[in-house]
C-alpha cells in the first residue's frame, strides 16, 4: 500500500480528518520551501502538496499566480523540485504530492519524470489540466512505478463521469469545492456536502476537498463529511503579510497547527 492510502486508512481508523497544506516550490526560494515542508510535518500535516510553478496557471486565482511568479523569478524548475523532494524525503515520513500543470511534466518527458519521481519518493501527482482521457500514458507511467495519479472532480462533473474518476484515481479523489479558481473565500458553497455525498454513493475512495478553504470554521464544517482538506492560498496569503523569513515559516506552521487541531477534534 502506498503512503497516501496508508495515511487515509490510519486517519479513518482514528476517526480523524487529514490536513494537506500546499506550498509553491521556490516561493521565494527552495530553501524556504524546505523549511516549510519540515515545519508543516511537525505542525501536524498529514500530507504535503508541493506546487510546481507554471507560467500560465489557468485554474489559479491571484494568490497562487503571484506565488508562482515569485518562484519562477527565482529560476525554480521541475528538476530542482525533485532534488528538493530527494533532500527532504529522508527527514519526513508523510506523503509528498506534487501538484502542477501538465506542460513542465511533459517537457521533462512523462516516462522520465515518472521514473525520477518514484526514485526520489514522490507519493502522488495532481495535474489540474490533465483529465484522465488525455493523461492515460502519464498516469499509467506513474502508477506502474508506485506513484499515485490523483484525479480531480468538480461540482460540474456528471454522475457518470464522477464514477469513472473515483474508480481511476489513486490515493484519494481531489474534490474541487467550487466552480472557480483557487483562492481564499469567506464562505463555502452550500452544495459542497451534497457533492461529496455524490462521490460517497459510488465509491469509498478517500475524498479531500480543496479550492477556497481558508478558515478553521470552514475546515470544521467540511471535516464533518470529507476525509481531508487541502489548504493553499490561505497559507500563502498569511505568509505574504510578513516580511521576515522565519516569521513566514512561523505564521504558516501556526496556521497549519490550528487547522489540524480542528480536524483532530473532528
Amino acid at each position: 500500500m502506498g503512503r497516501l492510502s496508508e495515511c487515509f486508512r490510519a486517519l479513518r481508523s482514528k476517526g480523524e480528518r487529514g490536513l494537506l497544506p500546499f506550498v509553491t516550490a521556490g516561493d521565494p526560494d527552495l530553501e524556504l520551501t524546505e523549511a516549510l515542508v519540515l515545519s508543516f510535518a511537525e505542525a501536524g500535516a498529514d500530507a504535503i502538496e508541493i506546487g510546481v510553478p507554471f507560467s500560465d496557471p489557468i485554474a489559479d486565482g491571484p494568490t497562487i499566480q503571484r506565488s508562482s511568479q515569485r518562484a519562477l523569478a527565482a529560476k525554480t524548475s521541475l528538476r530542482r523540485i525533485v532534488e528538493l523532494v530527494a533532500r527532504v524525503r529522508p527527514k519526513v515520513d508523510l506523503p509528498l504530492v506534487l501538484m502542477g500543470y501538465a506542460n513542465p511534466f511533459f517537457a521533462m518527458g512523462e516516462e522520465r519524470f515518472a521514473a525520477i519521481a518514484a526514485e526520489v519518493g514522490v507519493d502522488g501527482v495532481i495535474c489540474p489540466d490533465l483529465p484522465p482521457e488525455e493523461g492515460e500514458v502519464f498516469y499509467a507511467a506513474l502508477e506502474s512505478r508506485g506513484v499515485d495519479p490523483i484525479l480531480l472532480a468538480a461540482p460540474t462533473t456528471s454522475a457518470e463521469r464522477l464514477e469513472m474518476l473515483a474508480k481511476r484515481t489513486r490515493g484519494f479523489l481531489y474534490y474541487v469545492a467550487l466552480t472557480g479558481v483557487t483562492g481564499a473565500r469567506s464562505a463555502i458553497s452550500s452544495d459542497l456536502r451534497e457533492g461529496v455525498a455524490r462521490v460517497r454513493s459510488v465509491s469509498d475512495v478517500p475524498v479531500c476537498v480543496g479550492f477556497g478553504v481558508s478558515t478553521p470554521e470552514q475546515a470544521r464544517e467540511i471535516a464533518s463529511y470529507a476525509d481531508g482538506i487541502v489548504v493553499a492560498s490561505a497559507i500563502i496569503d498569511r505568509m505574504e503579510r510578513v516580511e521576515d523569513r522565519s516569521e513566514k515559516v512561523d505564521v504558516a506552521a501556526q496556521f497549519v497547527s490550528d487547522l489540524k487541531g480542528v480536524l483532530r477534534r473532528g
Binding site: 489557468i58 489559479d60 524548475s77 488525455e134 480531480l152 461540482p155
Partner: protein, 400 residues
C-alpha cells in the same frame, strides 16, 4: 484530414487539456455544435447575417499593380478587410454568438489581442442582445486605445489583464478563469482556431466560408485553382479558413506567415512553427514557445494579433504532415509591406495581414507569369495607422 480517430485530434495535436470544471461545459458545447450548427434553421440565420449584416461574400480582387511590379505570378486578394468590423473575425463570432444564444447563454466572454476579435464579439453581442465582457492584456489596452473605445461604444465591458506579460496569452488565461468561475451561464467565444476541443474545429468551420468563396471566385475568374494560398498565422483562423476547403486539392500549396518579430535568432518573435516545441498550453497540445522546463515564454510581434506563443493545433499538424509550409516574416518586412500595398493597390492592410503580403513580395517573382497566388487579405489597417506613424517616424529618426 483528421488523422486520428479521437475527436479533436489533429495527428499528435489538439485534445482537451482543461480543469475538470470545464469538461462538462466542453461536452455541452460539442453536443450543441453537432446538433445545432448543422440544423437548417441555424444555417439559414447564419447565412442571412453573413450576407445582410457582415457584407459577404467579400470580393476577390486581382492585384494588378503589384502583380506587374513583382513580375511573376498573378496575385489575387481575398478581401476580408471589407467584411463588417474590418476583418475576418466577424465570420466566427456571428456563428458563435448565434450558438451561444441557441444554447441559452446570456453572457459572452472573449479574449482579444489587437482588439479585432474583441470588437467583432462586442458587435455580434450588440446585434443579438447578449451581455459581453472582453479580456485584453493591459499592455494591449494601452497600445490599442481606439479599439478599446470601439468595444465600449458597442456596449461591451473591457477588462484589462495585469498578470504575466500583460498581452494576449494572459488575456486568454483570465478569460479561462472567468469561464471556470461562471461556466454555467457564460459562453466563451474563442477568437481563433485554438484552445480545447471543440474550439479549433468549431472556429475553422465558421471561417471556412473564406475558402469556400475564394474557391468559387477564382474558378470564375481564372477557370482553375490557384497554385499557392498565402495567409498570416497567429492562432491561425484566417489561414485555416482559407486553406481548409482546398485541403484535398493536392496541387494547391499552402503557405502560412508567422511573426518573425525582430528575427527568429533574436529570441523576440512569435514564430512557433519555426522555433516552437510540442507542449500543452491553453487547453491544447500544440507547438509552443517554451523553455526546457516547460515554461511558456512571451511572444513578440509588431502586430498584437500575431503576438502569441502558441498556434492552432491543426496548423501544427499541417506543418508536420507537410501539407502546409510556414515561414517567419520580420517586423520590418511587415511594416514595409504595409506601405507597399497601400501605395500600389490603395489598400492599407492590418499589420498582421502585412506579414502575408511581405512573403508574397518574395514568392511571386520566383513563379511563372501564369501561376496564381491567392492571398487572404484578412484585415484592414485602420487600427494600426497611429502605431505605424510612430514606427515610421522612429525609423526616420534612426536613419538621420
Amino acid at each position: 484530414m483528421e488523422a486520428s480517430s479521437r475527436p479533436g485530434r489533429f495527428g499528435a495535436y489538439g485534445g482537451r487539456y482543461v480543469p475538470e470544471t470545464l469538461v462538462s461545459a466542453l461536452d455541452e458545447l460539442e453536443q450543441a455544435r453537432l446538433r445545432i450548427v448543422p440544423s437548417e434553421a441555424f444555417e439559414r440565420e447564419l447565412q442571412h447575417l453573413l450576407r445582410s449584416y457582415a457584407g459577404r461574400p467579400t470580393p476577390l480582387s486581382f492585384a494588378e499593380r503589384i502583380t506587374a511590379d513583382l513580375g511573376g505570378a498573378k496575385i489575387y486578394l481575398k478581401r476580408e478587410d471589407l467584411a463588417h468590423t474590418g476583418a475576418h473575425k466577424i465570420n466566427n463570432v456571428l456563428g458563435q454568438a448565434l450558438l451561444a444564444r441557441a444554447m441559452g447563454k446570456r453572457r459572452v466572454i472573449a479574449e482579444t489581442g489587437a482588439g479585432q476579435h474583441g470588437v467583432a464579439t462586442a458587435t455580434a453581442c450588440a446585434l443579438l442582445g447578449l451581455e459581453c465582457e472582453v479580456y485584453q492584456g493591459a499592455e494591449d489596452v494601452e497600445r490599442q486605445a481606439l479599439n478599446v473605445f470601439r468595444m465600449e461604444l458597442l456596449g461591451a465591458r473591457v477588462r484589462p489583464v495585469d498578470s504575466g506579460s500583460r498581452t494576449l496569452k494572459d488575456a486568454i488565461n483570465e478569460a479561462m478563469r472567468d469561464w471556470v468561475t461562471n461556466v454555467r451561464d457564460t459562453y466563451y467565444c474563442i477568437g481563433s482556431t485554438m484552445g480545447p476541443h471543440p474550439y479549433p474545429t468549431l472556429v475553422r468551420d465558421f471561417q471556412r466560408v473564406i475558402g469556400d468563396e475564394a474557391r468559387r471566385q477564382i474558378l470564375e475568374a481564372e477557370g482553375r485553382l490557384p497554385d499557392v494560398l498565402v495567409a498570416c498565422v497567429g492562432g491561425g483562423s484566417n489561414a485555416m479558413g482559407l486553406f481548409h476547403p482546398f485541403v484535398d486539392d493536392r496541387s494547391v500549396r499552402f503557405v502560412g506567415c508567422e511573426a518573425g518579430g525582430e528575427g527568429v535568432e533574436s529570441g523576440r518573435h512569435g514564430a512557433t512553427m519555426t522555433a516552437g516545441v510540442p507542449g500543452i498550453f491553453h487547453g491544447q497540445r500544440t507547438l509552443v514557445l517554451s523553455d526546457d522546463d516547460g515554461q511558456i515564454f512571451p511572444a513578440h510581434s509588431i502586430s498584437a494579433g500575431l503576438d502569441y506563443p502558441g498556434v492552432g493545433p491543426e496548423h501544427a499538424y499541417y506543418r508536420d504532415s507537410g501539407r502546409a509550409r510556414y515561414v517567419a516574416v520580420t517586423d520590418s518586412e511587415a511594416l514595409d509591406a504595409l506601405g507597399y500595398l497601400s501605395r500600389l493597390e490603395g489598400i492599407i492592410p492590418a499589420l498582421e495581414t502585412a506579414h502575408a503580403i511581405a512573403h508574397v513580395r518574395k514568392l511571386a517573382p520566383t513563379l511563372a507569369r501564369d501561376a496564381i497566388v491567392l492571398v487572404n487579405l484578412s484585415g484592414r489597417g485602420d487600427k494600426d495607422v497611429i502605431q505605424v506613424r510612430e514606427l515610421l517616424a522612429a525609423g526616420r529618426r534612426e536613419k538621420h
